[in-house]
């Protein structure tokens, strides 16, 4: 029996590679896995290599959206800390619409490329997890630069430090749901464009 990579790896790869190239890309990975990686590294090493390769495709497919999402989050945090206000409604509406738009676009684009309805939610998960890391890092940098008493008062007035650091994590599941909606539309549009 020929060695085979983890089945979930191929399933994940399918979501982040275009429909037109999936067969050749997964074939290339399978060929490399079987003809050089598995003989040299053994089953566990080869599976680890395969997982790393697939996560590379996920990273390349999500990093732009994650950077946009994290950029919007850090920009909003900077605004709240350096230009405090008593009425956060307008800022909340704008930043929520921007974040939702980024996630919808990420889900739509990923599902459009792969032709898979599940790709949107997967893109939402990858985007929000990467963005959470970037946002927490960005917020920490902001705090390292601005931690004078005036700014600390602004931070407390805008929800506190805990909210600024934890909100990106709390957004992972809602982000998956929103990108999932974009993905449904993207995959449906792709099927319509291909003629059913």
């Amino acid at each position: 029996m020929k060695p085979a990579p983890p089945p979930w790896g191929e399933a994940l790869l399918r979501l982040f590679v275009s429909l037109d190239t999936f067969a050749s890309v997964s074939g290339d990975l399978l060929e490399q896995y079987r003809d050089s990686i598995h003989p040299a590294r053994g089953p566990r090493g080869a599976d680890k290599w395969y997982r790393t390769q697939v996560l590379g495709f996920v990273w390349r497919g999500s990093r732009l959206w994650a950077a946009l999402f994290a950029g919007a989050f850090v920009a909003r945090t900077t605004l709240d800390w350096l230009r405090p206000t008593t009425d956060f409604l307008m800022r909340s509406e704008v930043s929520t619409a921007l974040a939702a738009g980024i996630l919808l676009a990420a889900g739509f684009w990923t599902a459009w490329r792969s032709g898979s309805f599940a790709a949107g939610a997967a893109a939402g998960l990858a985007t929000t997890v990467i963005a959470a890391v970037l946002s927490i890092g960005g917020t920490t940098v902001l705090l390292a630069i601005w931690h004078d008493p005036h700014t600390m008062t602004s931070i407390r007035g805008s929800g506190g430090l805990e909210e600024a650091l934890m909100l990106p994590v709390w957004l992972v599941l809602p982000g998956m749901a929103i990108a999932g909606v974009g993905g449904l539309v993207g995959a449906a549009t792709e099927r319509l464009a291909r003629g059913g």
Binding site: K2, V17, S18, T21, A23, S24, V25, S26, G27, D28, L29, L30, E31, Q32, R34, D35, S36, T52, Q53, G56, F57, W59, R60
Partner: protein, 109 residues
């Protein structure tokens, strides 16, 4: 305006040139790894191939599969005249930067 190529794009195009009619994804990865002497991510190579194809520097067509690939097709890449031109421009730019200098450099650090 001539296409400006990044270093990795040049590596991929030169691998396609060397491999000629054997230039499909797996072989391109192997060729680059041999030349650079390090492991490269398949995703990086495939993303670059897709970008080069979108720029019109290479074209591709599907070939047949093999048992080791579970019958999945190979996608063969071919350099287009625009790709050859871009490589020539890239080489000329590097040669111009090195003109008058002796290689290898004698370090002062």
């Amino acid at each position: 305006m001539a296409e400006v190529l990044g270093t990795f794009e040049q590596a991929v195009l030169l691998a396609i040139l060397r491999l000629a009619d054997r230039a499909y994804g797996r072989e391109v990865v192997r060729e680059i790894e041999t030349r650079l002497g390090r492991e490269v991510a398949a995703g990086a190579v495939h993303a670059t191939l897709e970008r080069l194809e979108n720029k019109g520097l290479v074209t591709s067509k599907l070939g047949s599969g093999t048992p080791i690939r579970a019958g999945r097709p190979r996608r063969y890449y071919r350099l287009e005249p625009a790709g050859v031109s871009a490589l020539n421009d890239a080489r000329a730019a590097v040669d111009e930067l090195w003109r008058g200098l002796r290689w290898p450099l004698k370090g002062h650090a």
